[in-house]
Amino acid sequence: MEFGLSREQEMLRDMVRAFAERELAPNALSLDEKGQFPAAEWKKAAELGLVGIINAKEYGGSDMGHLARMIMIEEISKIYPSLGFCFQTGQIGMYGLQASGSEEQKKKYLPALCRGEDTIAWAVTEATGGSDPAGIQTTAELRGDEWVINGRKVFITGGESAKIVAFLAKTGETTGLFIVEKGTPGFSVPRREESLGLRSVPVSELAFTDCKIPKENLLGQEGRGLSVALAGIAAVGRPGAAGVSLGIAGGAYEAALKFAKERQLYGKPIARLQAVQFALVNMKVELEAARWLCYNSAWLLDQGRKPNDIGAEICMAKLHATDIANRICIKAIEVMGGYGLMPEYHVTRLLRDAVEILPAAGTQDIMRVIIGGGITR
């Protein structure tokens, strides 16, 4: 068992921290208020190799692996969780293309995605079920050289700004995963939801009305759509959500700690008052525990373990990190008193982000279902 990070992983953490402090911190509040995809920041991140972090070099990726990705998302999310969430969601499609796409599809889409010029959304959820994806009703009918798509998707993260959408549709009795490009007639983004948190990554509805896409736009094998879709969520979406939660928790803890060391009451820093100190200790212990669960799940992926085999580990990471993130944000606000509610201390923004991430990549209860299924087998 080796618990240390490699020198390169440490340098990555330092680099991402410097990037977050330099490029993200000054604008985090205003970007959040704008509620738009942070295209400029995404591009800068791509130049540093961060967007293609789990993609092969031959397609423009930097191929540093899942643990590196976890560290990157954590550091970014300490300061601007919305951008962390862009990685959570945007990299699912990049993984899916590389794992299941044809050579033509990989060459066509991946380089521009790795360069941060385009983004890809992953659309599975419908009104009839997100937690029960087998209940989807979007259909794909093969007519000659084209698939004709009809249906609606809901709560699709990044659907509004994505150039490419990979979506799940029924093909008769089975399912397929398909690619549609923005601007295709019959494909529209009719509605965007107002989010409580992670506001730079708006969640949208997608509508397909007799939308015709080329036959080649099937991603992976016909009939394997659901498993490709869920594999992407398990390997990339869920660890991504865990990483964002870890960053949110870390950011809130660090803000509370810094405040407690500086704020003087009764002639000393409040960090010396036992009640406050114990609150900080509890936060620290929960944060460390969550961190090792998250890092372990990412490390296992780097060891080549199949996402399905380590489903429980990945779910535990997301479940725990997201739970503690919510707890730590509230406790941080308590430690900071009235000042905790002021925007310039950022913790209320982090709390909203922590709440928003609860259902990402599967609700907390779905995590329990998967873990429960694993332990009671």
Binding site: F259, E262, E344, Y345
Partner: protein
Amino acid sequence: MNEVWIIAEQRAGRLMNVSLELLNKANELASALKVKSGVVLLGDGIRQMADELASYADRVYLVDSPELRFYQGLSYTDLVTGLIAEHEPDIVLTGSTPIGQDLAPRIAARLRTGLTAHCADLYIKYDGDKPLLAQVVPGWGGNMLLEITCPRKRPQMATVSPGMMPRCESREHKGEVISIQPEIASDARIETLEMFEESTPEKPLEDAEIVVAGGWGLASSGFSLVRELAEVLGGAVAGTRPAVDSGWLEKQKMVGQSGITIRPRLFISVGASGAPQFTIGFTGAKVVMAIDQNRNAPIFETADIGLVGDAGKIVPCLITALKNSTLCR
């Protein structure tokens, strides 16, 4: 010869204030050691300046030549080390100005002697019966004070930050001006071509040695009080978040949690109650003075000197009192 020297600094015929501050300290040290004080002055057309300096020191070593109009690194080093080698002063002080910091280290290296930079204080201490120059410097971001000595090598060299020490006041000396006309070989490898000095400096807030910041409490008396006070001190203007939000000054001048953190020598807060998001911006300041209407305002916990009262009345009185002090720039 055991003299205590300073290397004076002049720019375009104007003597830098730090030279008079050094000279004051040099005379003090010379008196403690019972030796003479000396000034090294290099430049072009500075005979009169040398004569004036002679009323502050025992000796002025003057090198007046058109070649020396601008600071020339290698020529100045050659000349000063030549003078030091000939006269063997015990102590040589320089201002830690950009030019002083460029010149003094090279001289020290050539003479293989010790140099301590940015001294906050200098005094004589005794090792047995041997007098040594004790050099006090702040270290580690100002959290520590170190005392340094140079026991074996001579001269003992130190640079002093401008504004750290009081200036020479009395002009009682009747020093002699020793004019030297050496062969000045200008070195073709490096040459200062021109010097540009701005009349209205707009330094970043972080570099200002003195900062005056105004807060919400100035709503009735007006933010202009802050500007006037800053002007008389030669300091920079800053403000709290409410002051910026009220449009009294630009966002770049905001001190605090969501603004800038600064560590000036002197920080004055006018009309700010002292919310933690503000006070965190200046905890590293050397000296803090606060003016506020409310005697219970938390700002007074974070200040060395607190003045309770109406800023509209206090600030004008401060300005008058400052104009008659050494703090006026």
